[in-house]
Structures are given as structure tokens and as C-alpha cells.
């Protein structure tokens, strides 16, 4: 379970304070399929990064399975990100010099990749219709295929939570629909919690819960 308690994030932009998140209190249960919506600059990505431990709040706590990640050491936080959370980015963020299977396995590389993990990566790509693309570099894949590789990378560690930052933003409608279907299937089949930042009502319409943000605050849940 994810819980935020009075989370506030203030950025310094020159002499100006910019509020990214204000007094956010949120509970997300295990296995939820949830979207966060709001206009540009409303704090959607900020909230996602705070939940994912990529950024620290100015005040407040973020708890994952009851553990406050705000107080965690850098090393432990990295382990949480590696073992419990998967990230999907709008621009896919694949490593351009690595093939689809290598990109899928990137989170495991520092510890070394076992044969079982390799097998899992292959199966993930196969299940995402990328069997004949495993040795292709990102530049040789379509946007939809790249994002599916990114989802495989997010799932390789069998995380409890997947955080997706505008995952369909760079895709056409058909690829976007297929991607959301894929995430929904993973949520239903594996019980993975999906938190999807989007400003596309079609995407949010497919999630079971939607949170609306404005000026860093939750205005509707």
C-alpha cells in the first residue's frame, strides 16, 4: 500500500517558489489501476516522482508498505526503486546502444543477469508481441514497440507498483490503446498496482480510479 501524508514539494526557480505539491494526503491500495489527471504544471509528474522516491518532499511522508521512504538512505531507496517499483516514461528512455532484450534486463545488470532472469525477459517480450524484435535496437523499433520494451523493463523485477508518466504521450491512438490494454491486463493478471499520469481522458477513462490535481493539490478523487 502507498500512502502520502501532508506531502508538500516546493521548488526554487530563481527567487520564486514554485509549488509542485501541496498538503497531499493519498492512499493507494495494492492492485489498484489508477490515473492522475490535471493540466500542465498541476504537479502530476511531481507527485509521481515523490511516490517513486525519485525526489524528496519539502515536508510530509511517503510510505510504501508502511515504510517511510523519505527517511531512507540513498542506497536503500535505490533498492526500493529497483525491487518494488517499475518506471515507464513518456519518451520511453531506452538505452540507444542496447537491444530490446538488453534494455529489458538493464535494471538487473549491476547484480549480473541469471539465466532465469534472461528467460523471464524473453517471455515478457514474447508476451508483448516482440519475439522477433528482441535483438533490435530502439532506433529500429516503432514508438509502440519501444514503449512495450519499456514496460517489459519496468516489470522485469516483478515490482508491486508501476509508475507511468504519460506513457501514451508519444504514441498514436491505436498504439496508445494497445498499451493501456497491456497495462490493464498486467494489473488484472499479476495484481501489479499501476499509477498512470495522463492528461488524456480516454486513458483515464480506462482506469478504475482517477485523481485530479490542480496547483499541486488534489481537487477530485
Amino acid at each position: 500500500m502507498i500512502e502520502t501524508r501532508n506531502v508538500t514539494k516546493i521548488y526554487k526557480l530563481g527567487d520564486t517558489d514554485v509549488i509542485g505539491a501541496k498538503e497531499i494526503n493519498l492512499k493507494i491500495e495494492e492492485g489498484e489501476f489508477l490515473s492522475i489527471m490535471g493540466p500542465s504544471g498541476s504537479g502530476k509528474s511531481t507527485l509521481l516522482y515523490l511516490i517513486g522516491g525519485l525526489d524528496k518532499p519539502t515536508s510530509g511522508d511517503v510510505l510504501i508498505d508502511g515504510v517511510n521512504i523519505v527517511e531512507m538512505e540513498e542506497r536503500a531507496l535505490c533498492e526500493v526503486r529497483r525491487d518494488k517499483i517499475g518506471f515507464i516514461f513518456q519518451e520511453f528512455n531506452l538505452i540507444s546502444t542496447l537491444t530490446a532484450i538488453e534494455n529489458t534486463l538493464v535494471p538487473l545488470i549491476p547484480m549480473g543477469v541469471s539465466a532465469d532472469e534472461m528467460e523471464r525477459g524473453m517471455k515478457l517480450l514474447e508476451s508483448f508481441d516482440l519475439k522477433d524484435r528482441i535483438d533490435h535496437l530502439p532506433g529500429q523499433l516503432s514508438g509502440g514497440q519501444q514503449q512495450r520494451v519499456a514496460i517489459a523493463r519496468a516489470l522485469i523485477n516483478e515490482p508491486e507498483i508501476v509508475l507511468a508518466d504519460e506513457p501514451t504521450g508519444e504514441l498514436d491512438t491505436k498504439s496508445g490503446d494497445e498499451l493501456i490494454q497491456l497495462m490493464e491486463e498486467m494489473n488484472r493478471r499479476e495484481g501489479v498496482t499501476f499509477i498512470i499520469v495522463t492528461h488524456d481522458p480516454v486513458v483515464s477513462g480506462k482506469t478504475r480510479r482517477t485523481i485530479f490535481l490542480q496547483d499541486g493539490m488534489i481537487v477530485k478523487d
Partner: protein, 443 residues
């Protein structure tokens, strides 16, 4: 496809290798930066080492303590002559340890074509017929030693010229000269008909131990049996032929006690300059060549050259280091999103540092090895290319002048690897410190 390794390092190496290949242009630029710096270091160092060795060899061939050559005034070593009485007078001067007689002659080898770095064809082509006439005129004008040396000799004859040195092997042994420097065979036993030749001459002529060689001087010709090959490290002497005093006198037409020079070795701690002054005072018609002072002056020139060498090397290495630093920083700046992504998906700071360090280390090691190979081949390349690019230029024997020592290779390896690795680690440290959000924002 990714290889099935068992350790984290193997996987990291694989990823680093893919990154280097995937960014080939940048990788080649960085390899070249390291390789050029190392090649220049090896090239310059080996040139200095070679020159030092040559001077060292020349100094050694003079004896342990430096020496003074006494010779007939006006004739130099080739055309001056001294009577044996001069030797006895010099021997009585306080501070003189040994007086060693030598006969020098500029002779010609018959029946052998010497393969020298500057060939006869090159000189003829360079000068042409008109050039030959001008040279003849110049020889006529020069007079003195140089004039006598060149008088009446054609270009082909000059190119086959060899310095003949007549020695007393017993006395040369005492001053640790020719007989102690044999690399093949031995010094001649008999005072008649035996000869040893320098290694350079052996290489150029193809002559070896057991061969006969015909030497001409003026109208005279003599055949010698080669009993050994020596190497003193001084190209002038290593390209010579050494025979007995008696044979040399006979060939040159000198009297029984006459010599070209007396090589005078002072007692330890006695300055060669002081001995030179004594000889001048005691012996009339004798000129002095203070070899000790000459070698000291050349040694000082080499030291000066070394200072310039160090400065150039330092500049080249710093420039290379700076280039690698800038290239790695640029590369990392372009990879900010990649590094941010790696950190976001759970890579620790040391993991990012390790990846970039492996990449830098690979570039540093490969670049250094390339640089060492290029540095060693550089003199051969110049020697082969110079006559093509500058057909009218006489090319120095660069491969003979340079000497690559194991110390040079070790230093090159340390310097190349250090600059490459440090140049990569500094930006890697900065990159690993970046938080994922900062990395995404920087993008």
C-alpha cells in the same frame, strides 16, 4: 544478444562495450587522443634515449674517464701524423695515465656496395651532373683536411668510403675500447691481415666473420680477413674497419713509429683540459681535441633537448587529458537522461560510476597500446615517407637514432592509462552524483 555471464562485472563490461561500439565516432576520437599523446611520448623519449646511448657509446669508446686526442696540426685525424717521440713526451706529462696510438684513414671498400640510409643514387639524383661539377670545384676550394679527403673522389666512391682505424689491441684493451666491445668473433691475433668491422658496416655491407674484404687507400689495396664484429654505440666508429697499427701504417705509407693520433687518457680526477694544455706546451706542431669537453658539451645539449622533450610531452599529455575530459563530459551531458533513467530504475551511484569507468579504462588501455605501437613505428614511418615527400632531403637514419626502452613503454602505459582513466572518472563522479529528477530536468 546479451551474453549469459555469471557476474555483475561481466554484464557491466558487456554494456560498456556496447556503449563504446554504439558511439563509435566518439570512441574513435577518444582513442586517437590517448594514442597520439602516447605515440608522441614514446617517439620523443626513444629519440632522446637513442641520442643518449649514442653519446654514452662514444664516451665509452673513449675510455672511462674521457680523453684528449693529440694529432698533427692542420691535418686532423685523417691526414695529420705524429712521430712516436711525441707519444713518449706525452707519456711523461704528470697526470697522464695511458697514451694509446691510433692510425686513421679514409679508405674505400672494393667489391662491396654499401646499403646506407642515403644511397649513392639518391645523392646523384639530388645533385645531377652539374651538381657533381660544383662539388668538385668546392673540394678544390676547400683544401686542408676536407679537401684532401674528398679530392679526386667521385660520388659513388665517397658513398663506399669507410674509416679505417689502426690500433694496438693490447693498449686498447687497457682503456676498454675496441677488443672489449666485440659482439661476434674476436679481435685479430696476428698483426698482419686481420680486421674487425663495426656492426653498422657489417649490416650495410653484408660482410661477416670469416669473409675477406679489400680495402683501398690511394693507389694501394690490401685484403683483410674479418675475425670479428664490434659495436661501440658510436655510428662514426661502428661504421668503420679496425686493423692492426702495422697494417694501417703500411696501407697509409706511414713510418714505423708514426701514427695519426695519440689518444691520451688522464689519471682519475685530472681534467682533460689540463692535460690538453700540457700537451700543447710540451709538443710543437700538435693540435688537441678535448673529447671529454666535446662529449660534455653534447651531453649538455641533450639535457637541454630533454627539457624541451619534457615540456612537449607535458603539453601533449595535458592536451590529451583535457580532450578526454571534455569528450567524456560532453558524452555524459548527452547521456544525462540515460544516467537519470538508470538511477530511476534502481542503479546505485557506484554502479553508474563503474559503467563509465569501465568505458574510460577500455579506451585508455586500447588507446595506450595503439599509441605505443604507433610510437615505435613512427621512426620507420618517417624514414620511409621522407624521401617520398622530400626527395631532395638527406634523411637521417632515424631508426638507428631512436631506442625504445622498457622504461619508456612502462611510463607510456602508466601515463596513457592514468590520463585516460582519470579523464573519464572526473565526469563520471559528477554524473553519478546527479539525482534522477535533476537528470530529467537537465534534459
Amino acid at each position: 544478444m546479451i551474453s549469459r555471464g555469471r557476474t555483475g562485472n561481466m554484464k557491466m563490461r558487456h554494456m560498456a562495450y556496447r556503449n563504446l561500439l554504439g558511439r563509435m565516432f566518439r570512441t574513435i576520437l577518444m582513442l586517437l587522443a590517448v594514442a597520439i599523446a602516447v605515440a608522441l611520448f614514446v617517439g620523443l623519449s626513444s629519440l632522446t634515449e637513442g641520442m643518449e646511448e649514442m653519446i654514452g657509446g662514444a664516451t665509452e669508446s673513449m675510455g672511462e674517464w674521457g680523453c684528449v686526442d693529440a694529432m698533427g696540426e692542420g691535418g686532423g685525424i685523417f691526414y695529420g701524423k705524429l712521430n712516436g717521440d711525441v707519444g713518449k713526451t706525452i707519456d711523461r706529462i704528470p697526470g697522464v695515465r695511458y697514451v694509446v696510438p691510433r692510425v686513421y684513414a679514409m679508405t674505400e671498400l672494393k667489391g662491396v656496395e654499401l646499403k646506407r640510409p642515403v644511397s649513392t643514387g639518391q645523392i646523384s639524383g639530388m645533385m645531377g651532373e652539374a651538381g657533381g661539377i660544383v662539388m668538385e670545384q668546392m673540394v678544390g676550394m676547400m683544401g686542408g683536411t676536407a679537401g684532401k679527403m674528398l679530392e679526386g673522389k667521385g660520388i659513388a666512391e665517397l658513398m663506399n668510403s669507410v674509416i679505417l682505424i689502426g690500433i694496438d689491441p693490447t693498449k686498447e684493451t687497457i682503456i676498454q675500447s675496441y677488443p672489449t666491445k666485440m659482439i661476434e668473433g674476436s679481435i685479430f691475433d696476428s698483426p698482419i691481415g686481420g680486421a674487425v668491422i663495426g656492426k653498422m658496416l657489417a649490416d650495410e655491407s653484408g660482410l661477416g666473420v670469416g669473409d675477406e674484404v679489400r680495402v683501398a687507400y690511394g693507389g694501394k689495396r690490401r685484403d683483410f680477413n674479418i675475425t670479428g664484429i664490434y659495436e661501440v654505440g658510436n655510428p662514426l666508429e661502428d661504421e668503420g674497419i679496425v686493423v692492426s697499427l702495422r697494417d694501417a701504417r703500411d696501407l697509409k705509407g706511414l713510418g714505423r713509429s708514426e701514427v695519426s693520433i695519440f689518444r691520451v687518457i688522464p689519471e682519475p680526477h685530472v681534467e682533460t683540459g689540463t692535460i690538453g694544455m700540457w700537451i700543447k706546451a710540451k709538443c710543437r706542431g700538435v693540435s688537441i681535441m678535448d673529447q671529454g669537453a666535446l662529449m660534455k658539451a653534447i651531453g649538455e645539449q641533450i639535457d637541454q633537448f630533454k627539457v624541451y622533450e619534457y615540456i612537449v610531452e607535458a603539453i601533449v599529455i595535458l592536451a590529451s587529458f583535457g580532450f578526454i575530459l571534455v569528450m567524456t563530459m560532453r558524452s555524459i551531458a548527452e547521456r544525462t537522461k540515460e544516467i537519470g533513467t538508470l538511477r530511476a530504475i534502481g542503479w546505485q551511484k557506484p554502479d553508474v560510476l563503474r559503467l563509465i569507468t569501465i568505458e574510460s579504462t577500455a579506451i585508455a588501455i586500447i588507446g595506450t597500446i595503439l599509441g605505443i605501437i604507433i610510437g615505435i613505428l613512427l621512426p620507420y614511418f618517417f624514414q620511409a615517407m621522407m624521401p617520398i615527400v622530400f626527395p631532395n632531403m638527406i634523411v637521417p637514419p632515424m631508426t638507428e637514432l631512436t631506442k625504445v626502452t622498457s622504461a619508456t613503454i612502462i611510463y607510456a602505459f602508466i601515463i596513457g592509462c592514468t590520463s585516460g582513466i582519470v579523464g573519464g572518472i572526473v565526469p563520471a563522479l559528477q554524473a553519478s552524483e546527479m539525482s534522477p529528477v535533476d537528470a530529467f530536468r537537465a534534459e
